[in-house]
Each structure stands twice: as C-alpha cells, then as structure tokens.
Chain length 348, copies 2
C-alpha cells in the first residue's frame, strides 16, 4: 500500500538516526510562549510560570492499536497526537506541547515517515501545540508510536476523576460509538479486499464513522466552552475505552453510583443505521466501543441551566449513592448493572 | 531464561490492562514536592512553580537496544530510567519525574514485568524522582520501552549545547569505553552459551565493564558538584553515542572547533586490558563506543582552578576556532580529524 502511494523511496539507512530526526522535524516551529527550547538539545526547556504542568503518555502499537493496511500514515500521526491531547483536556487543562517517538523497521521508506510527521504537524497546527521532543529508532518488526503530551492549568481549574457527588448530572460531549463502527467497516473492507483485490470499496455512506476512527478530534473546544459557560465539572474523564468503562472509573474514584439512561445516549444516524447493518445493538456499541475521544463529566445540578441549550453537551444520567451501584436504565425501564467492557489489549 | 528464574507465572490476560498498570505501580509513592498527582487520573499534575520545566524522551527496543538473553529485567528497568535522566542532567538540571511505558507480548509473565518495575523503582528511589505516568500495552513481538523524564532548573542554570567558546576547556566525567566493552563481553558469552549451554561464564574479571553496560548511573552527582564548585559549564551534552559524536555536536552547535588529546582520555584499567584481549584500540572504543552516560562539557579557562583537583573530572582538550576543525591529537602528536562514529540504530 505504501509503495503505491509513494513511488519515491529513500531508505532510512541513507539518513541515519541523527539526520532522520532533524529531517523530520525541520519544518516544525515553536509557537507556544512556554516553549523555550524544542528539539535540538539533550532536552526541551519549557516555562510554565505559575501554572501547573499536566503530563500524559500513551503508546500505539501496529497490529494492536492500528492496522497500516487501511490507516493512512498521515492520519495515524494526527490520531497519535489526538489520543494524548484528549487526556490533557480531560483534566480541564490546555495542551501546550507533545513529544513524539517512533520505532519503525527499515522496510519503511523515509517518505512514509514524512507522511506520519505531516499528520503530527497538522495536529500541532490545528491545536496550537508545539512538538518539542522525540526519538526515532529502528524496530525489528512493525511500527510503534509513543507520545507524551504536556499542558497547563491553574490549580483551581484542574478537574480530577474523584470529585463527582451524589445527584450530580452526568454529561457527555458529541456522540458515541462511531469510532468503533468505523473500525468494523474498515475491517470488513479489508476482508473483501483479500478475496477480491480489484474491488473498489464505497465508503461514502460510512464517511462519518470512518473519520471518527481514523482521524478523531480531541475536545479542546469543550474545555474552552466550559470556561465560557462558567461551568467547572466536578469530575471528568475522556472516553477512550467505551462509555461504560469510563463511567465505572468515575464512580469508583468518586465513591458514587450512577444511573445512565439508554434513551439519552447520543448516537449519530450513521451509527444507528450501521449498527442495524452489522446486526449489533447500538447501545452496546456506545457502552463498549471506545476510541471516540469525547469527554465525560459530571456537574452540579445548579449548573444545568448553563449547559442545557448546548448541542455539544448531552445529559445522559445522574450520580447516586455508592450503595445503589452503577446501572443502565433501558428504554423498557429495566435496570441493568454496568460492567466494564473497556477494550483490553492483552486479550486476543 | 525468564522461566528458570521465575517459577511463578501469572499471565497478563488474567489481570487485564487496567489491573496491570495499577498492580505494577501500587508501591510507588510520590516524594517530589512538585508531584501533585501521579498515576491514576487522565494525566499527572506537576507544580514547578517559577522553575523551568525540562523534558526528554527515549525509546529502547528489544533486539536493537537490549538483548533479554543476558539483560536482567530489573537492570533494564533501571537503565531505561538512567538513559533519560542523563539527558536532564546534561542540561545542568535536576530530574524530578519520569513516565515509563512498556509494550510486551503475552509471553511475558506478570512476574517479569514486576522485575522490570522493581528496577524502575530502584532508580526512582536512588535518584529521588517520582514515577507519575505510563502505559502498558501488548506488542506482537518483543519488548519496547518508552521513557519521558521531567526536570527543573532556574533559567540561569540551564546549560545548552551551543555556548562553547574558543579556548574553553573540554571536560569529561568518569571514564569512557566501559559500556561498549561490557557489551562485547556479554555478546561473546552469549555465543559461547549457544555452543555449550553447560558452560558457566566467569564474568568476574569484567564486572566493572559489564555493570557499565547493564546498570549505568546518570551523573546527577556532577550537576550537584558543579553547583558546589560554582562552575557553570558553557556547553554540555551527555555521552550516549560515543565521545567523538558528542564533541562534534558541541562543535557544530557552538560554532567552534576542538583539539582532543588522546593521552588525556580517561580509561579504566579493565577497559585497557579488555581492549587488548579483544585486539581493539582503546581510544577508538572511547571515541565511538557509546552508552557510558558520562557528561561532556566545556568551561571557561578561568574556572580551571576550581575543577583541577577533582578525580571525577578530566580535561581532555580545548575548543578552537571553527575554521580549525575538530581533531584528535594522538600520543604520536599527529592530528586526525574527528568523525561521528555514533551508533546508528538504522544500520544493521
């Protein structure tokens, strides 16, 4: 696949490790006032002044987290940054810098890595963050990406997972399940392609959910919106492993229970129609799907008037006493205990 | 190998990804006043007050950077942290936190990862740093480690690579070449073991250089010493890729040349004797060997009296006009141009 798209191939040996990182990052400029020194010395130097520093790190492994047979490298670079920024925004903080490290085998031509870094650059530009470090190395097999994101916040702005109180409203941004279903569509097309390589897939009807999978956006806008609305969530987490798993994290850390209402879970029409096509239950997909990178948070009921008119925010439930447990209240008004169906990369 | 040492085997599937990181980090406590929140939320929260934040990141790949057939996992955990702390100290800064991510295949039992994290814990304890984040994930093949280190410094303390001036003295800490020769000894024993698994290697004569390879120490003590001596280097870098390569980095970034004197390069007696045994030139090993994690820096000549009595510091040359280039002055007083022989992980 890479060969078709990149007729020009420059081998990584030609550049060597030192030349490579310089080459790949030469067009990255520093824009954040806090970035004093980026790539080029032993370490980056940042000036966060009186702000608190927020740090998060994630790894993405080929064959586990992504499949290069249908993931454009530019999208992969973009998504690698998004996954980490999402964690910073989930602290109600603003992301400021990232470091991006990659391990690849020599089978990758330089042009492929340039594509990857073009995606990193697009993410940096759109989210106003600086690339300030990284490492490139060879790997015996496959590609592996490690990103660390840094951000800033005033101490009183930071939102942890442990502040939810009984009767707080549970709010989610955007809509859920799209990224998971997008992956199902891509996997199906991959199988079709194996059988008939001449087949041209028509992904147009699935463009929304495929984009949710391949090029998710971190919800920086929500952190800005909440500030504008003067709402500080009592707890917050990002949805990387599925709604159910994240709700249970908030409940456990905050020592509360939760009632989640099935009919309130926001679903895009494409998610509903594609669920039917795959004969899957759309609620189960939203609960267990993962990779939507939306934000899930709780607010005091007194803040409800400030958020109720906003199309980006949906109240999907409320927190209860811990002793009541965490439940899904179905459309049929039955009460089902929530279980963590977060994606477990050590299974299978 | 792992099986022999760890009769107890708990599979990673039993714990799952969420349980795993909690299990592995449960005994890590936060000691740094700047660590406000460590593992357990979407991101760590750090308070560096008015200090500058220093950030560095490195990847270590099985089969490229380490060989598990002779690298104890505890040592590997320790070394992974050292490699990154070394970059922070090379900025004349103090390391304060690390994040440690690992990708491993399911063939690793839990007990192996516990060994690795025991090494991380030993490094954190000895260097007074906190583990504040990380990610554990599965990998299709082999082990991969990504560490990001954070540190602090006052703005006027930070030393970059670009401040060396003509006539500055070039100073190195400790001694060189040991880590590379230690690797040669370990590789030789591995080959012997392949032929005769009953053979018990006697590594005792090589204990110094084997330890330099398997369990290097980052030179935090030098940063503290320089402060005590009231010496601020004009430029500094750590020696990860070999003396020659690092000198050329300082020359290039500082726009100067350099004369390095062969007879001044500090070598441990074990390095000299083992070089002879391997029929290698000890100077070439010091120049190109790498992985010693010593510090290389330049100082103004006026500071020489402050450092001259210290056994940890050796003046090995001086900086010149850029037009003079960078040279090794041999014992025979011939002048040989320095070339980067830094280790290139994309070759071979």
């Amino acid at each position: 696949m890479l060969e078709d798209k990149n007729p020009q191939r420059t081998s990584l040996e030609e550049l060597g490790e030192f030349g490579l990182i310089e080459h790949l990052t030469q067009n990255f400029e520093l824009h954040q006032p806090s970035s004093k020194m980026g790539i080029g010395d032993d370490a980056a130097v940042l000036d966060f002044d009186s702000k608190k520093t927020i740090v998060s790190t994630d790894m993405l492994v080929e064959g586990v987290h992504f499949d290069l047979s249908y993931t454009p490298l530019k999208h992969l670079g973009y998504k690698s940054v998004m996954v980490n920024l999402s964690d910073i925004y989930a602290m109600n903080a603003m992301a400021t810098q990232v470091t991006v490290s990659i391990a690849v085998s020599n089978r990758f031509p330089l042009e492929a890595l340039e594509e990857f870094y073009a995606g990193v650059a697009a993410a940096c530009k759109r989210y106003h963050i600086d690339l300030v470090g990284g490492d490139t190395t060879s790997s015996n097999k496959g590609m592996l990406i490690s990103v660390t994101a840094l951000g800033i916040a005033d101490e009183d702005e930071i939102v942890y997972r442990d502040g939810a109180k009984t009767n707080d409203l549970l709010v989610v941004t955007g809509d859920l399940g799209g990224a998971y279903l997008g992956l199902q569509v891509l996997e199906r097309e991959k199988e079709v392609f194996k059988v008939n390589p001449e087949n041209q897939p028509d992904l147009e009807p699935y463009s929304y959910i495929v984009e949710r999978q391949l090029k998710p956006e971190a919800r920086k806008d929500i952190v800005e919106l909440l500030k504008k609305l003067e709402v500080k969530p009592t707890s917050m987490i990002d949805i990387s492993d599925g709604l159910s798993s994240e709700i249970l994290h908030l409940c456990k850390r905050s020592n509360v229970g939760c009632n989640l209402f099935e009919d309130k879970i926001p679903l895009d029409p494409t998610v509903i129609s594609t669920s039917e096509e795959f004969q899957m239950d759309s609620t189960m997909i939203a609960l267990g799907g993962g990779e939507d990178y939306e934000l899930l948070f709780t607010i005091d009921q007194a803040d409800f008037p400030k958020i109720k008119a906003n199309p980006n925010l949906t109240v999907i439930g409320h927190m209860t006493q811990k002793s009541e447990g965490a439940h899904l209240i179905t459309r049929a008004e039955t009460k089902i205990p929530l279980t963590a169906q977060g994606w477990n990369s050590f299974n299978g």
